[in-house]
């Protein structure tokens, strides 16, 4: 039996995939931008987007039986998005645990682009100033479709907790090897097709970046301008998109837990037309590091479909995958994405999907 943690526009759901029922519902009616369990502690984290009342951070140590609201990360006095524009927290994009050797370390990626770090289990967070003060930020990071840049991806190297990659949408991939004291852009080989210089050092748009658990030097990203892969720890990126599609534009991406050559995407038409290709849902999988891609449609709607899958709304666990869509449809596969079962069509729009 699988339990999915669904962050949706109308609350956080723990969903029983065998019985197709909501086991528990939390923050009902309130958008949950991101929800995930910290595997080190079993704590269930939720970024709650109250809109009117601002972003709020909640956690539960007992799978939702009780919740505690923590102080939301706050940009310090004097922090500016651009000169003269004070920075305030506008979105909680992602919540990621630190290394196994840092049981109290938690990271939060936010909009307008700041990385926050806690060393007390989330009771307090501080802005990682070295990244916020990176010389590229004010001039070369920007909001893309949102008002401001978002830090949407955080990958802590399981071999070395001081080695971290982050992805800024829009800004690019950055690496630290000294625990966040300094950061370097790692965008060589990516394409920023919307910039005058598509090969610029900074200003790329990694919608979502994931690292292979079995080989952390291999990372995949669904970028605004295609799908890219690195096998050398982001020193270089290779474009593994399909020139004629369908693998090109999209938001979500997942990598197999054991085989770093295997990844999945749920592509959409293009930047200019963000809808399902031929109004049909397709999941594409590569088994050879992106050289070739297979299309899987069994169990997915092939007509009158306008679903997209947002960047945090595709999850993998062993041979199982699950995704939720902008139209509130949720699907699960138990055969590595080759066939799908619908878990419901009347959810609210889905922002994040995780296996519990």
């Amino acid at each position: 039996m699988s339990t999915l943690i669904l962050g949706t526009h109308k609350g956080l759901l723990l969903f029983d995939t065998d019985n197709c029922e909501i086991k528990r519902e939390f923050h009902a009616g309130v958008p949950v931008s991101y929800a995930a369990i910290d595997p080190r502690t079993g704590v269930l984290w939720a970024g709650v987007d109250h809109g009117h009342w601002g972003q709020k951070l909640h956690f539960s140590s007992d799978m939702g039986a009780t919740w505690e609201e923590l102080s939301t990360p706050a940009y310090p006095e004097g922090a500016e998005i651009t000169d003269g524009k004070a920075a305030t927290l506008s979105y909680l994009w992602i919540i990621t645990p630190g290394g196994i050797d840092q049981p109290e370390r938690v990271y939060i990626g936010t909009e307008p682009g700041g990385l926050f770090q806690s060393d007390d289990g989330g009771n307090s967070f501080q802005l990682v100033e070295s990244l916020w003060n990176h010389p590229s930020r004010k001039e070369h990071w920007f909001g893309g479709g949102r008002d401001h840049p978002g830090l949407c991806s955080i990958m802590v190297d399981p071999r070395d907790s001081n080695h971290i990659f982050i992805g800024i949408s829009v800004g690019g991939v950055f690496e630290t090897t000294d625990g966040g004291k300094s950061w370097e852009p790692r965008n060589k080989g990516l394409l920023a097709c919307y910039l005058p210089d598509p090969n610029a050092e900074v200003g790329h748009d990694p919608h979502f970046v994931v690292a292979s658990k079995s080989n952390p030097d291999v990372m995949w990203q669904q970028n605004h301008c295609g799908v890219f892969r690195t096998t050398d720890g982001a020193q270089t990126w290779e474009n593994v998109s399909q020139p004629g599609g369908p693998v090109n534009f999209g938001f979500a991406i997942a990598v197999d837990e054991k085989d770093s050559d295997v990844a999945w995407v749920v592509p959409a038409v293009s930047d200019e037309k963000r809808i399902a290709i031929d109004r049909a849902l397709v999941v594409c999988r590569t088994d050879d590091g992106g050289k070739t891609w297979k299309e899987f449609r069994t169990g997915l709607p092939q007509n009158n479909c306008y679903d997209l899958v947002f960047r945090h709304a595709l999850a993998v666990q062993g041979d199982k995958l699950a995704f939720g869509t902008t139209n509130g449809n949720v699907y699960i596969s138990e055969d590595r994405g080759e066939s799908w079962r619908c878990l419901g069509t009347a959810f609210a729009p889905v922002y994040s999907v995780q296996f519990a």
Partner: protein, 90 residues
């Protein structure tokens, strides 16, 4: 001391929230006083710079606050302060 009334919407997150009489000569001081009584409440009304959140409104009597950035609007002991949120949603 100013009297403060709240939208019912906030009671979901602060179940003990009630209409309150608090200290303050400005709206900002009123919010700070409320936060002492209901820890965390200020963060629902203002952002970390102390500016009124975009879709939250505060009235003093029948008049909307003018200074949304620092909430320096004056209040007195007879002021009735109302904290509302926008009715939009969906």
């Amino acid at each position: 001391m100013p009297h403060v009334k709240f939208t019912k919407n906030l009671q979901r997150f602060f179940p003990t929230l009630r209409d309150s009489v608090v200290d303050g000569c400005t709206v900002a001081e009123v919010v700070a006083s409320l936060d002492k009584r209901y820890p965390g409440l200020a963060g629902y009304i203002v952002d970390e710079r102390g500016a009124l959140r975009q879709h939250v409104n505060i009235f003093i009597g029948d008049e909307m606050v003018l200074d949304r950035q620092t909430l320096n609007d004056a209040v007195n002991e007879n002021s009735k302060v109302y904290v509302f949120q926008a009715l939009s949603g969906g």
